[in-house]
């Protein structure tokens, strides 16, 4: 199990993507089945990797890996449910992009293991796990909303140019894609809110000082604001269709920036960041891990 590397499952996903593209070109159904098999092999390898290595979520690498893992499940379920549609052509590039971004941002040292620091007291571990879980699910929802928006724009373009149905990319109907986008956003916002609240609860429990200028706090709050705005425009101004799709893509870009520039979770191996930014205002600050260590 220890011989499985990130490149193993990335290669499986790349193969699945190539087979999906080939299927699009040649129109042979068995290619889609082969793509599914490759995708499934990738998921198995990634699951074993996550189980054996337990990359810490305090590193962007671990975070991206978990996001990609959930997206891989989303890809397989969607590809089985929507067999006639070009599902993998959209999901797999995002999945691979997240894995590549995780690698680019740096892998954790071999001694860093465990999703949440083992040395934290049990109460904190619960709140941090809740905090992590909620924000992770929120980010996955944002990814799904992004995918739905990209597919919506493709489908909308096809219809604007009056491309005959069945020619080229086959996509779900505009109505279905808009529903998917809406549901993902509706799910992401409360998850993000609850995740932030869990972080605040943890912070208040530890009676820590609050710094609103911490980059992680700023980015998390700005992401929350973007989503609040998105919901307001969707339901207050009744924005629909392409406009809402474009705004969702903007929200996804903000999310990527947040994840790439800084990480919303405490990071015990980055003292230089803490020194530069001071104490954080929420449990997402680096101080939690450090303070709770005995």
């Amino acid at each position: 199990m220890n011989r499985i590397t990130v490149l193993c499952f990335m290669a499986s996903y790349v193969l699945a993507l190539l087979l999906e593209l080939l299927q699009l070109w040649l129109g042979r159904f068995y290619l889609r089945v082969l793509a599914l098999i490759a995708g499934f092999a990738g998921l198995i390898a990634q699951t074993l990797y996550l189980y054996s290595r337990r990359p810490p979520l305090v590193w962007q690498f671990g975070w991206m890996l978990f996001m990609a893992w959930i997206l891989a499940i989303f890809y397989l379920c969607g590809a089985v449910q929507h067999r006639r549609f070009s599902w993998g052509v959209f999901v797999l590039p995002l999945l691979l992009g997240l894995l590549a971004l995780g690698l680019a941002l740096g892998t954790p040292p071999p001694e860093a293991r465990g999703l949440v620091q083992a040395e934290l007291v049990s109460t904190d571990r619960f709140w941090i796990a809740l905090h992590i879980g909620l924000i992770l699910l929120a980010t996955v929802s944002v990814c799904i909303a992004f995918l739905a928006s990209v597919m919506y724009l493709f489908q909308s373009h096809r219809l604007r140019t009056k491309t005959p149905p069945g020619e080229g990319l086959r996509l779900l109907s505009l109505e279905r894609l808009e529903d998917m986008n809406r549901q993902a956003i509706i799910l992401a916002f409360p998850l993000l809110t609850a995740g932030i609240l869990a972080g605040m609860a943890l912070m208040l429990q530890g009676n820590r000082a609050v710094s609103w200028m911490d980059l992680r706090v700023l980015s998390t709050n700005s992401l929350w604001l973007v989503f609040a705005l998105l919901l307001y425009l969707r339901y207050g101004y009744h924005l629909r269709g392409r406009q809402i799709a474009f705004l969702t893509i903007v929200a996804f870009v903000v999310l990527l920036c947040c994840l790439a520039l800084t990480h919303p979770l405490p990071h015990p191996d980055r003292p230089q960041q803490e020194g530069r930014q001071g104490e954080a205002n929420c449990p997402t600050s680096a101080s939690i891990g450090r303070d709770e260590r005995t």
Partner: protein, 422 residues
């Protein structure tokens, strides 16, 4: 193989002749009975709007002239005039022709699915009339299998080739569920009726119908369980509608861009799909924005049909290969079934004769031969028998596989030459 396919289709015959040759339901039974009783054939008649074909099997190997006369007499036509329109396929060619027809390779719209059902129905009618026999009972079910194979193994049936079904395909690209959707029908053109029929299959929640003539609007609304609304309320209806089907005979635009923009400003619903299949067009084409409004006119829909047909044509090669393969398989199967009893009797007769001769010979040489000699003599006679029979059996099998009528003659010759009795 004594099999004939005689008929005419849209390729060879103008519609004026085809419609005179077409059989009504009552005429079909009558014609089938006459073919079976007077001419002694197994018979199936395929009569559609694009072709009239008679499939005959068994009976005496007659030239098709008698059938031409039969058809001419039956429909009151001049036999000489009719002969120039008819094509005749015999044996293997007839088998292949039926398989091509059933697989929709000979259809006006290649890959259309209706013909396979019509072939099946024709056979069932003949079966019910008792005019089928061993050959046609094997041939027509096989034709259905060929049609199914071609449909599933090639892309020849993919896509829609009618304007109305292409319109529905576009609607499905925009909407996912239709129970909460409103369809607005403007006008009452013939093409509109067909498209509305396809739209109704989506089970929309509400259908509104409007027309300059309130009476016509009520008629169309009654036909589709919709609601007739006054022509003056067209703008209100457009603010409520999700799918618009416009098919008026108006010489000028009904909904200009300015008028549409005013309607759009009042709309609170999602996108609207407008199927403008009227000529001249009813809606200003500039209103199509690919976001809130999707407008498709008759030319857009015809382009789909042309592209679908072009894509289908790419599958003709593989489909023809399947037909060729299945034709060979059918002929082999038929040869096995029809020649089997004759070959079996021939072999049994030779076998009995050989045993008798070898038995006599061995009894005369009794005491002079050891076991090895006896076996050698027995094997030598078996070899001679096999070599002797190889020629006639091979010739019969080859003739049957080629689908020619020669196999019938050969069987008769074998029966006489070797005195084979049933």
């Amino acid at each position: 193989m004594n099999l004939w396919a005689i008929g005419c289709s849209y390729r060879t015959t103008p519609v004026e002749i085809r419609e005179r040759l077409a059989f009504t339901d009552e005429q079909l039974n009558q014609a089938l009975r006459q073919l079976a009783d007077s001419l002694g054939f197994e018979a199936v008649i395929l009569s559609t709007c694009n072709r009239v074909e008679v499939y005959l099997a068994g009976g005496p190997p007659q030239p098709p002239d008698s059938l031409t006369d039969f058809l001419a007499n039956f429909h009151g036509l001049n036999p000489q005039e009719l002969r120039s329109y008819l094509y005749v396929h015999q044996g293997k060619a007839a088998v292949k022709h039926l398989f091509r027809v059933a697989a929709s390779l000979d259809s006006l719209l290649i890959g259309e699915g209706q013909i396979a059902g019509q072939v099946k129905k024709s056979y069932e009618r003949a079966l019910a009339a008792g005019t089928t026999g061993p050959l046609l009972n094997l041939l027509f079910p096989h034709a259905r299998q060929v049609a199914r194979r071609v449909r599933t193994e090639t892309g020849i049936s993919q896509g829609h080739v009618s304007v109305s079904s292409a319109a529905v395909d576009y609607v499905r690209e925009v909407f996912d569920h239709f129970g909460d959707k409103t369809v607005l029908v403007i006008g009452a053109g013939k093409m509109g009726e067909l498209t509305l029929k396809h739209l109704k299959e989506l089970r929309p929640g509400h259908i509104l119908v409007t027309n300059r003539s309130p009476e016509k609007a009520r008629q169309v609304a009654a036909g589709c369980r919709g609601e007739a609304i006054p022509w003056e309320k067209l703008d209100d209806a457009l603010t409520q509608a999700d799918i618009v089907l416009s098919t008026t005979g108006s010489p000028e635009l009904i909904v200009s861009r300015d008028r549409y923009n005013r309607i759009l400003a009042r709309r609170t619903r999602g996108p609207m799909v407008i199927l403008d299949i009227a000529v001249p067009r009813d809606f200003d084409p500039r209103i199509h924005d690919g976001d809130r409004t999707f407008l498709f006119n008759i030319d857009d829909l015809r382009i789909i049909r042309d592209k679908t047909l072009a894509r289908r044509r790419e599958h003709i090669g593989p489909a023809e290969a399947i037909v060729e393969q299945e034709t060979s398989r059918f002929l082999k199967d038929w040869a096995r079934r029809s020649n089997g009893p004759v070959i079996e009797r021939l072999t049994q007769q030779f076998e009995a004769r050989r045993r008798e001769i070898v038995g006599n010979l061995l009894s005369r040489l009794n005491g002079k031969l050891d076991d090895a000699d006896r076996q050698y003599i027995d094997k030598a006679f078996s070899l001679f028998q096999n070599q002797l029979l190889h020629g006639p059996i091979s010739a019969l099998s080859e003739e049957s596989r080629s689908g020619g009528s020669g196999s019938h003659t050969l069987i008769e010759a074998l029966r006489k030459l070797f005195r084979l009795h049933d």
